[in-house]
């Protein structure tokens, strides 16, 4: 079947070229538009260039475990001696491959991830010992089954459909316990208390560095763009955790030294945006880039490709497995605001709280076309935000580049209306003082 093989190789090569083009375009847009940005961001731009454009392998030793969805406990993977790799793809190139065998209306993230894995694991990943697929949304569930069909070893990590009940907590803890044994079998290394404590500490260092970075966005003159923060968190998907933590801390040190010098990533009075919804995964930073190119600045986010990846820490009481493993399980269920759960209470509350603590002027809610959970929650969230008097713009889009003009009109109109609101508020305050 050498003709098939040849065609297969061509398809891989073409996809790689398209991916490199997309990645290059996103990186160029970002690098060119922030000329006096912090030098420490270069590490992250270069990392993406190396992985997405050049296909440079990042890891040479050890077992890699692919993860789909943010609920897979990384700490357990590290404790079992392997390295996690988040597989969710943001590439239009792969979305087009997935479109060959997935329904037209399915979520672009699923199409892209399956498209990518259909032609083989990402060039920089090496081989995958296992793919862990939490049973979150319908499309992710079926994606897991399809990956098995492609020949990947897949572990379906069972998640409860609700998170508040004690039943859900018990169910998830049992699911995680079972998963930890599967991990041990896959890597041949036992999860000991010391290894798990080390893993938890390593992840906690990374999370601490992330929080340090994120807190800069609370400033009235943010020193970095929201899209830069997204590039940093996207690097977390695949970078070595120690290197990543070091690079984030170096970036924070540089940003600290620039405080008070007047260096700001944006103009004064730029509308401050809280970005929520379907996750923007590199290179699909289409909507976040548009927001920031239209004069806004993304000061916070509630997406699983950025803040939700790193925000919540594991908290255990006793350094023993019987406490640590359930504590790890809790961290991945309790604070999770994915719309697959029966209630959106937690998400609604978190959005208002974030909007307030980051002083956001408005919320941009992205749903991918075909993502029912996010689209359905849009109304509930919108209503809750309206009651808190926080304006919201809903955008439905996918990975294709052809709706840029249409999105620009909506985003610009939203920025204009936020600026108008801010002006009126300022005028009212002046009037009240008189």
């Amino acid at each position: 079947m050498s003709v098939d093989n040849e065609r297969w190789e061509r398809m891989k090569k073409t996809a790689q070229v398209h991916l490199a083009m997309e990645a290059r375009e996103t990186l160029t847009r970002m690098e060119d538009s922030f000329s006096n940005g912090p030098g420490a961001m270069q590490y992250f731009y270069d990392l993406h260039r190396a992985s997405y454009c050049d296909g440079t392998p990042l890891r040479t030793a050890g077992k890699t475990i692919g993860t789909l969805c943010v609920q897979v406990p990384e700490e357990l993977i590290y404790a079992a001696g392997a390295v996690p790799l988040r597989l969710c793809s943001g590439a239009y190139a792969f979305d087009q491959i997935g479109a060959d065998f997935l329904p037209a209306k399915s979520c672009p993230l699923i199409k892209a991830t399956l498209g990518m894995l259909h032609i083989g694991p990402p060039a920089f990943a090496g081989s995958l010992s296992l793919i862990v697929n939490p049973s979150t949304c319908d499309q992710k569930k079926k994606a897991g089954e399809m990956l098995e069909d492609f020949g990947y070893p897949v572990y379906h990590l069972e998640m409860p459909p609700a998170k508040a009940s004690e039943e859900a907590r018990v169910y998830w803890r049992q699911s995680i316990k079972k998963f930890s044994r599967v991990l041990e079998k896959t890597t041949g290394q036992r999860i000991t208390e010391k290894r798990l404590a080390d893993a938890i500490a390593r992840v906690r260092s990374a999370q601490t560095a992330y929080r340090r970075l994120r807190d800069f966005m609370k400033s009235a003159t943010p020193p970095i763009r929201g899209t830069d923060v997204m590039v940093v968190t996207n690097a977390y998907f695949f970078d070595d955790i120690g290197k990543w933590t070091g690079a984030v801390n170096a970036l924070c040190n540089e940003l600290e030294s620039r405080t008070g010098t007047g260096a700001s990533a944006t103009l004064r009075h730029a509308p401050r945006i809280l970005f929520t919804g379907s996750p923007p995964v590199f290179p699909n930073l289409k909507l976040p880039l548009l927001i920031e190119e239209s004069g806004g600045i993304i000061v916070a986010d509630e997406v699983c490709s950025a803040s939700r990846l790193l925000n919540d820490m594991v908290a255990f009481d006793e350094p023993h497995l019987y406490d640590m493993i359930p504590a790890v399980a809790d961290r991945y269920l309790k604070p999770c605001t994915c719309p697959v759960f029966t209630s959106s209470e937690d998400r609604k509350r978190k959005l208002v709280e974030q909007a307030q603590s980051f002083d956001a002027d408005g919320v941009v809610y992205q749903s991918f076309a075909g993502c029912m959970p996010y689209e359905l929650e849009q109304r509930l969230v919108g209503k809750h935000l309206a009651e808190a008097e926080i304006p919201m713009l809903s955008i439905e889009t996918d990975y294709s580049p052809d709706d840029a003009g249409q999105l620009a009109t909506r985003v610009e109109a939203f920025m204009e209306s936020l600026k108008g609101r801010a002006r009126r508020k300022a005028n009212d305050e002046v009037r009240m003082m008189k």
Binding site: T409, E416, R421
Partner: protein
């Protein structure tokens, strides 16, 4: 006296409005966008200035809007057509009256909701599909061998409007041709097209909510049949301004004036 220009560069037509310092409309013009919209816009502005007898220096500020707004570098500023349309319909200045703005353009349609104080609260657009836009009317006129301007007059002569089932303009064309072949008259088809567009608009509008008073602008608002069908589907009367095709351009002109005059008198949409 200084003048301010609002230029709405649409997909079908370029609309220019000049207002004076007292917000009076001094001059206006509608011309075809064509394929070279930048060149055509520059020429259109030139022609309008010549017509008025002013000099270019009398025009203190130009605000552009519409899909061609960014590439028209001669403008001092560009705003989205949503903000411009809002300003043109009285947003930011007339409180409590206009609450819903329905705009049907050459190839898009939009609904803008204003709050009690006249500021833009929400909006929804259809710009992915030409059904429910001026394109649909153009296609209809073409197939009936008529001018778009003459469609409205035949609307009320229909005994009963025909139902157009196709949601897509391209397939609706085939449907119309087939209906003509079956002996249906132009009047029924025209009325049917108007109701089809009106239904789509109302579906769009429901996504942001419809509140009185409803303001209807854009070129198709010149069509009395379209207004009638829209009122029937909305189940309420709508207000159509004089020169509805120019509302957005006029809004841009008002924003131009406001930008030039300064914070004291800014139109706050």
């Amino acid at each position: 006296m200084k003048y301010f220009a609002g230029i709405d560069i649409g997909s079908t037509a370029i609309k220019i409005v000049l207002v004076d310092e007292n917000e009076r409309i001094e001059a206006h013009q509608v011309s075809a966008t064509g394929s070279h919209f930048h060149r055509n816009t520059v020429e259109a502005l030139g022609r309008l200035i010549e017509q008025t007898g002013f000099s270019r220096g009398d025009i203190a500020y130009i605000t552009s809007t519409g899909y061609g707004r960014k590439l028209f570098k001669e403008a001092d500023e560009s705003v989205s057509e949503i903000t411009a349309n809002g300003a043109g319909a009285g947003a930011g200045r007339v409180s409590g009256e206009v609450r819903t703005i329905i705009n049907i353009g050459g190839q898009d349609s939009k609904v803008i909701l204003l709050d009690r104080d006249g500021h833009i609260k929400n909006f929804v657009m259809n710009d992915k599909c030409a059904a429910g836009t001026g394109r649909f009317l153009e296609m209809t006129a073409r197939n009936l061998g008529m001018e778009v301007e003459d469609l409205g007059a035949l609307h009320h002569k229909a005994q009963a409007p025909l139902t157009i089932n196709s949601t897509c303009t391209v397939f609706a064309e085939s449907e119309i041709i087939s209906q003509l072949a079956h002996g249906h008259n132009r009047e029924e088809i025209i009325a049917g097209v108007h109701y089809s567009i009106a239904r789509r608009i109302v579906r769009l509008a429901k996504r942001v909510g419809i509140e009185d008073t409803v303001f209807f602008d854009g070129g198709p608002a010149l069509n009395a049949g379209m207004v009638s069908a829209l009122e029937d589907e909305l189940m309420r009367k709508v207000v159509v301004p004089e020169l509805p095709q120019l509302t957005t351009a006029r809004g841009a002109a008002l924003l131009a004036r406001s930008a030039w005059i300064g914070t004291g008198e800014q139109v706050n949409v």
